[in-house]
Symmetry: C2
Subunit: 495 residues, 2 copies
Amino acid sequence: MLRDINLKRTVEKNEYRTRISELQLELGHCQREARARGIPIIIVFDGWDTAGKGELINELILALDPRGFSLYSPIKNNETDSSRPYLYQFWTKTPRNGLISLYEKSWYHQLILAKLNKTEDKRLPEYDDLISFERQLADAGNIIVKLFLHISKKEQQKRIEKLKDSPDTAWVVDKAMEKRHKNYEKLENLYDQMIELTDSDFAAWSIIEATDQRFAKLKIFSTIIAAVQRKLAQPTGTTPSLTISAETSSGNLNSSILERINLTECVLSREEYREKLEDNQKQLRQLQFKMASSKNPGIILYEGWDAAGKGGNIKRLVQAMDPRNYQVVPIAAPDSVEKAHHYLWRFWNHIPHDGFISILDRSWYGRVLVERVEGFCSESEWRRSFREINEMEKQLTDYGMLLVKFWLHVDPETQLMRFEERMQTPDKQWKITDEDWRNREKWSAYQDAVEEMLFRTSTSYAPWTVVESNDKLYARIKSQETVIKEMRSLLARRD
Amino acid sequence: MLRDINLKRTVEKNEYRTRISELQLELGHCQREARARGIPIIIVFDGWDTAGKGELINELILALDPRGFSLYSPIKNNETDSSRPYLYQFWTKTPRNGLISLYEKSWYHQLILAKLNKTEDKRLPEYDDLISFERQLADAGNIIVKLFLHISKKEQQKRIEKLKDSPDTAWVVDKAMEKRHKNYEKLENLYDQMIELTDSDFAAWSIIEATDQRFAKLKIFSTIIAAVQRKLAQPTGTTPSLTISAETSSGNLNSSILERINLTECVLSREEYREKLEDNQKQLRQLQFKMASSKNPGIILYEGWDAAGKGGNIKRLVQAMDPRNYQVVPIAAPDSVEKAHHYLWRFWNHIPHDGFISILDRSWYGRVLVERVEGFCSESEWRRSFREINEMEKQLTDYGMLLVKFWLHVDPETQLMRFEERMQTPDKQWKITDEDWRNREKWSAYQDAVEEMLFRTSTSYAPWTVVESNDKLYARIKSQETVIKEMRSLLARRD
């Protein structure tokens, strides 16, 4: 495919001057209009070495209002990024509504290099993961423009020679670049495959013929303008509507998982508890040490009814752990910056680095619980998120991350008892708010949501553990033993 | 000093149990009260290896509401931090109003190690820089608690042996730790010196006798509670008032620097401009390459009257640069998160990494310009900031950063002409707002502020360059030539 492209296209200087100033104005309009409409824009660059990326990007950003974009140019050997799942670096840089993120290197870049060099890197994703990433962003309203800067092998050779001729630029040409040049044909096949597999209606590739920089500049501007105008032509607020088939509606799922849970039988005496607690905490401390020293990261997330005892459960879980390698992350309602991003964005920001454990007190499941029940997002949005969440969890566990998910289950009577107790204890009154009472009114709507969540997101790679929590002592021990079991099993697999 | 401390203090288990639960409740109260009052709290740990820091911190954070604190535990070899001025890592982690930041390692830690190992590290600050850092935060209302965990050499030896005995913990004891243990006496002298030189009323050290963990826990809790209660006892909103001596009042400074500027003589013909522009941009590109390849960072900041031509000036400065190594950072009014921090916090977040150039379109000088004139901060706040800004700029230039500061100067007539032109050009109308017109009304108040700023913050290490900008062409060339000169001089010094 790439070899069929005519790389001889050029533009005269005078024609260029006229057209580029028109396009600059037009792009300025587009940026302001997209900003006003709150549409986020993602522009990604990929392509051959020496295709002139720097100059082309510079021309582009000089036409943009600098308050409205950011350019992401990865630092080599960046510990923050390289000790986390691959997509972390790209997710955390996605634009907030109305802004533009430019990626100087695409999420395909490292993948292609690994394929070329035949290096095994378990950290790298599959094309499917990258397509999911793009689809998730497009579904949330992002415009995605993927630009491939194309030059011929001969042209590349000429440019490499020229760079080497000047002492100011010779350092740019390293051995790796020369090797890539030598393997132009191999790379071309890999690029062809990449473009074929990852070209989609929601994130199409555009090939930019880059022999003539003037031609390339004009084409980049027009491609972006066209993509933005296409989006602007759609009426505001339309996201592709989802056809909901009968069997996915929640009616059929109602009360089938939770009703099997026997809350009354799961109890523990205080002596049993004390004994097990001490033993478990010792084990947890040792296992956390091992997770840290062998650089394994983990996420332990807690969901559950209000007053199910999440706080106390988490406290006992981490009591003997080393605080330098774990963090409890309470998830509250999203703030204004978080709201202006894809809802998964803020969780990507909390992904632990290798060797670190994040304990989430509430999580991304808020999307299908509170946001669903309270109507904070549309039905198509929360329905879509089952798949999005499963995709994210698959990526995390593929990376090797421990992922334990707890639903702390109590019955409404126990909740009421605890609410009343809190009201009567001066030091606990601040823990209970009007909102807790309001949520309680909606028990049955929440129950439907919980049922569907447990059903749709219990996967082989990230199953839910329902923790019977009428008896707090039992619940704490069960959570701890689950974490112990999962840590052991992960460490054994990774050994 | 440290050797005079009685390390044999202990607490009985039963007494401990009673007192710790009282203190936990008390600390909870303190946290909620400080949060309600918007008081930020900084808690810093330092002290001997094996003093039990992990366990002590864990006990502390388990008593805190996890929504209200964060623990900063530096990752080793973190590129993001280590390629920037030393205080970056600490500044960016300072708490927002009402929250708590715990630092598992203090800003003294690396300094002490370098002194012990006699390693030369130009990146490391002086004690004075750290005292400034603490004073700046304290002046802005932060509570700073510095805890030194103290054990004897004998006790440390015992603990190291114990760690080495278990295969789960033996990896913690590395050669560096053993060396530090051997040099206990040397380290003790260094710690004594550190405590003596950096103990202040706004950031006092507390020695925590850590032989007995129970004793240590109680003392840590009480120390923090006492510090918070002291602050809470002060009436809200009082910051130490500043006595303003006669000679620092702005009256005497009025119009002495700017009136010397000859705006009419500084002009350039279009031919001269074209010629110089091309040559300058070529040089800037080469110099940027050199700055990047030799890992020198730089900040070029632009202040100036509205419509003085900052945007166009910056555009021509960066036109030939490689966008992977520079960024234009527009500084707008602070958002709600930024407002809830020390005003310098958001600028520390923009400090470029080594080899990178940040061009600031407006800057921290907003404090002494718009914030002063519009009354967004108190007089004592903006007066204090002259010193704070000088301190920060000293730290940046000591680190080796290029720092160029431009004041783009036009006269009121030129500004009026440009405002009117913008109103009449459809593609420029969005650039002019009612606020611009309102600011213009306050020209003379702004002029006083500019005069005082230029006077107080033109230092030997970071002088201002006033750029005559009635003629935009002249202004662009002058800015470029200033940057070229400063880059050359920095590269020559650093060679």
